[in-house]
């Protein structure tokens, strides 16, 4: 028994054929990913000295990537868990696309940490000798749990659609059909099954919401728990969290727009969805500005010597260019676009969201580097310098390529828009929640 969804054919269409263009794209992305892995092996053999890292800048681009990818990951949980709890039915068509961002960006967050480690071969020491006094262990636990539960959450909500693929895509190659059969776990689509699934997802949504808040706060505490000027502030946790949700939601817009265009999902992903996201993004942007002012005004007004060194570096020193362009990219231009041009215009929205994400990467960088560049005692012998090298650049590119690759491949084998969640009606006997009806109304 399968739900009735008039868009079913459209949604399943991308799964029917992997074209030449796909293969070229995948090959390119795979090439970049492999190149990055090669560079990492080289770095492992030669030593981290081939990066731009040094004393006092012990953490640089890799840590920036870590924070950034974990931030991107917040999109999925935000859209599917938090909006699920809030009963926002309009989210339904985009849940899976958002969750897939979570799922595929987390591994590259984890990879960034591995790449940053001097001795990745000793990673298991974290298990044998791990001690919870260290924020790193908090991170390992939170990110690990987050990855695991995201996989489970994602997979559960995918099961009915896998069963649909199993029954509908009878022309698919044998291995693909076998994969669907195995992954569908014998789903039959009975009303009881749907009922149970919804309950599990609701329950998990609560857990995931708590986790998502924890994860990014804990990530920020890698910095916040030290005594370093610019890092040691209680605001760093909430600020990182908001930044994560901002960049994650912006990433959802970009991904949706691409899917809509490439897979001809105009009816499945109506402009109204983008307008709802636009409203969310405007809220987040204003929140971001609020944090930004609260943070910097407190430091600037207090005028404490050590803190001011970092602040001045950002405002008018060596990092002023990055700092102010970041502010323009994350806040200034996107807000103007959203307010003036964004409504009903996907192109403008995407532009704003790309800017937000570039800016958010820079924001992470500007939190991590300037604090280290002028450490208390060492600055007597002049400021440190940090210039990332080709190694770091290639590994960063590889992370983004890897993320895109996983995403692109996934959309060719699994429906990226949930068929069952956007269905007009589920098999009879299922008590449709009110949000479900709103959901199908939006999908019209």
């Amino acid at each position: 028994m399968h739900p009735e969804n008039k868009n079913e054919t459209v949604i399943l269409n991308p799964l029917r054929k992997v074209g030449l263009a796909d293969k070229l794209l995948w090959a390119t992305l795979l090439g970049l990913l492999l190149l990055g892995i090669g560079v990492w092996i080289r770095q492992y053999v030669l030593g981290l000295g081939i990066t731009g890292l040094n004393r006092p800048v012990y953490w640089g681009v890799y840590l920036t990537n870590f924070v950034f990818f974990i931030g991107l990951a917040h999109s999925g949980t935000f859209i599917s868990a938090i909006l699920r709890l809030a009963g926002q039915g309009w989210r339904k068509p985009l849940t899976r696309a958002a969750e897939a961002i979570t799922l595929f960006s987390l591994p590259f967050g984890v990879a960034s940490i591995l790449v940053d480690m001097g001795r990745p071969d000793r990673i298991l020491n974290l298990i044998w000798f791990g001690r919870y006094e260290s924020p790193i262990l908090w991170d390992v636990t939170a990110v690990g749990l987050y990855l695991l539960s995201s996989i489970v959450f994602f997979y559960f909500s995918l099961i009915p659609d896998i069963a649909l693929c199993r029954d509908r895509l009878t022309q698919a190659p044998g291995w693909q059909r076998r994969m669907y059969t195995i992954l569908a776990l014998g789903w039959r689509g009975t009303p009881q099954q749907y009922h149970r699934l919804e309950r599990v997802l609701d329950g998990m949504a609560i857990f995931m919401t708590m986790l998502v808040v924890t994860v990014h706060t804990v990530v920020s505490w890698l910095f916040g728990m030290t005594l370093q000027p610019g890092w040691h502030t209680a605001l760093i946790g909430p600020f990182f969290l908001l930044g994560a949700i901002l960049s994650g939601t912006a990433a959802v817009v970009i991904v949706l727009a691409i899917l809509r265009k490439v897979y001809r999902f105009q009816h499945v992903l109506p402009v109204s969805l983008f307008n709802s996201l636009r409203k969310l993004l405007i809220t987040f942007l204003l929140g971001w500005l609020y944090f930004m002012i609260a943070e910097h005004l407190t430091i600037g007004y207090g005028n404490m010597k050590e803190e001011m060194v970092v602040l001045q570096d950002k405002f008018s020193g060596n990092y002023a260019l990055i700092f102010w362009s970041m502010a323009v990219l994350v806040f200034g231009v996107p807000l103007l676009i959203f307010l003036i041009k964004g409504k009903d215009s996907i192109g403008w929205m995407v532009l704003a969201c790309v800017l937000i994400n570039i800016g958010m990467w820079m924001e992470r960088y500007i939190v991590i580097v300037p604090t280290q560049i002028s450490p208390r005692l060492l600055s007597v012998s002049g400021q440190g310098i940090y210039l990332p090298t080709m190694t770091e650049a290639l590994i960063t590119v590889a992370c983004f390529a890897g993320f895109t690759l996983l995403y692109a491949v996934f959309t060719r084998y699994f429906p990226i828009v949930p068929v069952w969640e956007t269905a007009e009606s589920l098999p009879v006997g299922h008590e449709a929640e009110p949000a479900l009806q709103t959901g199908s109304a939006t999908a019209d």
Binding site: G47, N54, R55, Y58, W59, G118, S134, R376
Partner: protein
């Protein structure tokens, strides 16, 4: 149990840097070379930091030799995820090179910039290689781990063994780090801070005594005597 600490008299220090050199020879810290040193990759467990105030000719220079402070509340050990760095019972903060995963959390957490990372495998010019300290406790560290001043803890171990072998009780004065032994200006003192009769105890309580970044609450066990 002794609580090892150091006192450095800034009036006596004339920044000759022999401490830095002695430390290097004792502890086998690798030579980074001018190129890498320029990139901030030099490893100097002991460093003489120049604090310059004012401009020439009205200029006040304070040279501060800086080993590890062996903080009583070390922010570095707190953040280590695998207890690769820890404070031992006698207050010395050490690193276990076989356990360190190279995450560099301790290096960013130490407010004194004391901890060094091995960016490359250790290297020495041929001539120096023949003069490496053969003590296995200071065997060169592999790339990818963090290292720092240990108050020459290998010397403590040796001093204890020696006292044992000679069948007498170990005394605090048996143990002295290389920098203290070498110090040309006799500016450095070392001993048990908890022993009220010790010189370091008395100097640490002198009105001239101060510690670096005292306000952070790290309780360093390296004291300085103000110059002037």
């Amino acid at each position: 149990m002794p609580r090892w600490g150091m006192v450095i008299d800034l009036d006596k220090c004339f920044a000759c840097q022999s401490c830095t050199v002695a430390c290097r020879m004792e502890n086998n810290t690798p030579v980074a070379g001018p190129d890498q040193a320029g990139k901030g990759r030099a490893i100097l467990w002991n460093e003489v930091l120049p604090f310059i105030e004012g401009e020439y000719p009205r200029l006040v220079a304070t040279m501060i030799p800086r080993p590890c402070m062996h903080c009583d509340y070390p922010p570095c050990t707190k953040v280590c995820p695998v207890r690769a760095t820890y404070k031992n019972e006698e207050g010395i903060v050490v690193v276990d090179y076989n356990r360190c995963i190279g995450c560099r959390m301790c290096t960013v957490a130490c407010p004194y910039g004391v901890r060094y990372f091995n960016w490359f495998p250790p290297e020495w010019p041929e001539e120096l290689k023949q003069h490496l300290n053969p003590d296995p406790e200071v065997a060169p560290r592999p790339k990818g781990v963090v290292e720092k001043c240990s108050f020459c803890i290998q010397r403590l171990h040796k001093a204890r063994q020696k006292a044992d072998a000679e069948g007498r009780a170990f005394m605090a004065t048996d143990y002295i780090p290389a920098c203290v032994q070498t110090c040309t200006g006799h500016a450095r003192y070392f001993g048990d801070l908890d022993d009220p009769t010790s010189l370091v105890h008395q100097l640490a309580h002198s009105p001239r005594a101060f510690r670096l970044l005292e306000e952070l609450g790290t309780e360093p066990k390296v004291y300085y005597l103000k110059q002037g």
